[in-house]
Symmetry: C3
Subunit: 135 residues, 3 copies
């Protein structure tokens, strides 16, 4: 098992960053031919998503939709004022598990691995764990 | 580690198909006694869900609710016109990980594994990976 | 691979219970130094979430928001009357996968593992599987 931490800097309050190339490079360099890749977000106001990366409008449409579902100024009690960011993190998800085969991430043709920032700008970490199959 | 691809044909714009029997059969035939089963959707306008499969009204209620949350005709920028389908895929999820024990999928009593089509009809693939435990 | 079942009793119709300490204790006692921990909810009207556990207002804000997204009395067909609980289970998720390193759960600083009850009070089970890394 190998574990890598990626550091990223988000530059806006809400933002989507594509991690596909970085994670793909980690997998290729690891020498793991087959196994599972767990990509994990250790934060509570950001999420990890696998979806279309080709047209950036998809990510901005999804950010805008999430904002309609969980508006920033809602009837929240949480004193920090960022309850909506926590809710969006829950709706998108904390981790993604992806198959590794032939030494590469087995994403679908149109799939990208994306970091969704919901309460930036912040310095963020994403933890990538590779678990090799034994047979 | 073994990897199987299931092919399915959805026959409506939105549709839920139950994959439980097919995946269960794959697990039983694999000879894997204990481990993890990763069921992965390589598409960006469909999702994988584990929920009640006994009453089909649950799935249609959920499809209708998702449509209220992410209406097909919304204020979207994505040129392909299916931003809602991408959003629903994100809200439901790209994969499910299920325990394998005693050579079978360890689902709860009322749980079914379901493929949620949000932009069909299409030919779709689901990738089932079995990772055997070593001890 | 080791598998443990936690039993919990929810005491309200909707409720969030923190499982972090219990799961952490299981991991520490297991002797597994490094690997993956799959926490799985075998129910269809409850979810597993990783999010902030420090301020209980976050969980109650999220419960209230989910109730606005999927109101209990909606235009549902499901005869049992709890379609909203099924929808909330889907929106939150059936399982969480967490890295184990140094014999401990590798959660982020502010992350807690939470059981979201959407149709209680009930006796519930959560299945914790530890899969050790071989190298």
């Amino acid at each position: 098992m190998t574990r890598h931490a990626l550091t990223l800097q988000t530059t806006a309050h809400e933002q989507v960053q594509d991690l596909t190339l970085q994670v793909r490079q980690l997998v290729r360099q690891s020498g793991v031919a087959a196994g599972l890749c767990l990509v994990y977000c250790p934060h509570t106001t950001a999420g990890l998503v696998i979806n279309e990366g080709y047209d950036p409008d998809v990510a901005s449409d999804v950010l805008a939709l999430l904002d309609r579902l969980a508006p920033w100024h809602g009837p929240y009690q949480h004193a920090e004022g960022n309850a909506a960011a926590h809710a969006k993190a829950i709706l998108t998800g904390t981790s993604q598990t992806i198959l590794v085969e032939n030494g590469d991430l087995a994403l679908g043709t149109w799939q990208a691995l994306q970091f969704y920032e919901f309460d930036g700008p912040r310095t963020r970490t994403v933890v990538v764990t590779l678990m090799e199959a034994t047979s």
